[in-house]
């Protein structure tokens, strides 16, 4: 068996089989990253690494490679650089992989990216020269073989490459076979879309287990009723369970005059929902860790640590 090379803390923890937590940072339409850096510092004691998003929903933000570098440098938190194939062609992306490495990035998450038509520059040309699977394959070629399209790279990059999966996808089998393609391309880890349906998640993760790629489960702890309701309404294909929405609504009403207590109760409610959910998946050996996608909610991390250490 070929010895797996380790390029990052994330790579090391996954290779060791440690059950880990990763977070998510969403830089906005700004050149000043101080808020994001602050958030990164707050989650740093708890997470192995944090994703840095690449213009999600096609809404243009500061470039994710630049933001990843600055956050990693300023907050001392390892990042998982999200890179979509939406905006740059194959030639440009190969250059970015080398650039990302030169800037100290050691993990990259290959994503298709939301179509520009959804965002705030809908007239932009949708590039999609590569797709999320062929981007994985390109990174693996560059890292493992030290070539691009067969041409030698003088000093090749060293990054771990991951990809996304969606347990909510219907038809599920099409998604499973797609994960098979990503695994075939050399994908080293998977981060899933946010899930709330335990049975469906078990079914999906059991199916993709055969690909032998460590999975970090996407969860979205809900900071408030407004956020839970918004997530349920505006994120297509992800339904927040009705009993959760009702419970969060109650918290909002019951503790409306005591914000401090309200926060504590919301955090506790998240803990109570996610603890059995994650424990069950962990017990079944379906997870390598958890990826928390709730941005602007760093105070939940101590509770999440209790969840994943349970």
């Amino acid at each position: 068996m070929v010895e797996k090379k380790i390029y990052s803390k994330l790579g090391e923890k996954l290779a060791n089989g440690d059950f880990i937590l990763t977070g998510e940072l969403e830089p906005e339409k700004t050149c000043d990253l101080s808020h994001t850096i602050q958030e990164a510092k707050e989650m740093a004691p708890y997470v192995v690494a944090a994703n840095v998003t690449d213009s999600p929903l096609g809404i243009v933000t500061i470039n994710s490679m630049a933001a990843s570098h600055i956050i990693q440098k300023e907050a001392g938190l390892e990042v998982i650089w999200q890179l979509t194939v939406r905006d740059v062609n194959k030639l440009g992306i190969a250059g970015m992989i080398m650039g990302g490495h030169a800037l100290g990035l050691r993990n990259v998450l290959s994503l298709t990216g939301d179509h520009p038509a959804l965002g705030d520059m809908p007239e932009s040309k949708p590039v999609f020269d590569l797709d999320s699977a062929t981007l994985v394959r390109l990174v693996k070629e560059m890292v493992d073989k030290g070539t691009i399209n067969g041409h030698e790279i003088e000093h090749p990059p060293t990054l771990h490459v991951g990809a996304a999966a969606n347990p909510n996808a219907d038809p599920m089998e099409a998604e499973i076979l797609k994960i098979g393609r990503k695994a075939q391309a050399g994908c080293e880890f998977i981060q899933t879309q946010v899930v709330y349906d335990l049975d469906r998640t078990i079914e999906f993760l059991s199916e993709i287990k055969k690909y032998n790629v460590p999975v970090l489960l996407g969860i979205f702890p809900m900071k408030s009723y407004g956020i839970a309701k918004g997530f349920d309404t505006f994120v297509p294909g992800v339904d927040v369970p009705k009993d959760i929405l009702a419970k969060w609504k109650n918290i909002k009403t019951e503790f409306k005059d005591d914000k401090k207590e309200q926060k504590r109760v919301y955090d506790q409610a998240n803990y109570e929902f996610f603890k059995p959910f994650i424990s069950e998946l962990k017990r079944k050996g379906l997870l390598a860790g958890v990826h928390c996608m709730a941005v602007h909610y760093p105070r939940i991390f101590p509770k999440l640590m209790e969840v994943i250490q349970a």
Binding site: T112, A117, F128, S132, A133, L177, R181, P236
Partner: protein, 221 residues
């Protein structure tokens, strides 16, 4: 196959004809006639509108196919005298028509400007008149034998070679508010029905743009 065209707004046509008085109308008798942008009826309607605006329509021809350069050369020989008297040609055809007309005129009348009164949409499948659908982008490297006869370059909003992407919800595409089918789910359903999910599982190479990313020609004699 039909090249599907739609009418340009008349105001846009007027704006390009601002220095023109005498017009020759060329209206395609083939695809544009089927799309009701050209043909005899389209020509008649356009001539009336132009005359109402004070233009003189010196001559109107309805060639069998404007894109067939041989037919255009023949038709132009028959209206040679009229061509001497016009300021511009307005064609009601697809974009190919402009190239074909310019080429047919290049030796004798290279300076007659040729304007177009339509927008070329796509090459389409005709379900019935007024219902035309794109199923092929003419990429030059046909994948249909591997994708159950459904083209991902056309039916996937991102033209992905390895879909479906995360923008698919319940078989629908994120582009267009989840109203259109996800092309890769259509491919999956078709290949599954045909017992060929082995083809769906295959990791496909990106499109080779060195072959299809420039103006192409097919010359075999």
């Amino acid at each position: 196959m039909t090249v599907i065209t739609t009418k340009k707004p008349f105001e846009e046509i007027l704006s390009v004809l601002k220095d023109v008085k005498k017009i020759g109308l060329v209206s395609c008798g083939s695809c544009a006639a089927m799309c009701q942008t050209g043909g005899t009826e389209g020509a008649k309607e356009m001539a009336e509108k132009l005359e109402k605006e004070g233009f003189e329509v010196i001559v109107t021809i309805v060639p069998e196919e404007v894109c067939d350069n041989r037919l255009m050369m023949k038709d132009f020989r028959q209206i040679d005298e009229d061509l001497k008297n016009i300021d511009a040609i307005l064609t009601l055809s697809c974009g190919l028509g402009v190239a074909s007309i310019v080429k047919a005129l290049e030796r004798k009348y290279p300076l007659i400007p040729v304007f177009i009164g339509t927008n070329t949409e796509f090459m389409g499948m005709t379900e019935r008149i007024g219902r035309f659908y794109m199923h092929c982008r003419g990429c030059g490297d046909c994948l249909l034998n591997e994708t159950g006869g459904i083209c991902p370059i056309t039916t996937c909003a991102k033209s992905l070679m390895n879909g479906p992407c995360g923008g698919m919800v319940n078989g629908k595409c994120e582009v267009g508010n989840y109203e259109k089918d996800c092309g890769w789910v259509l491919i999956y359903n078709r290949l599954k029905a045909l017992g060929r999910l082995d083809l769906f599982s295959k990791l496909r190479d990106p499109v080779n743009w060195s072959e299809s990313g420039h103006q192409r020609e097919v010359v075999w004699r």
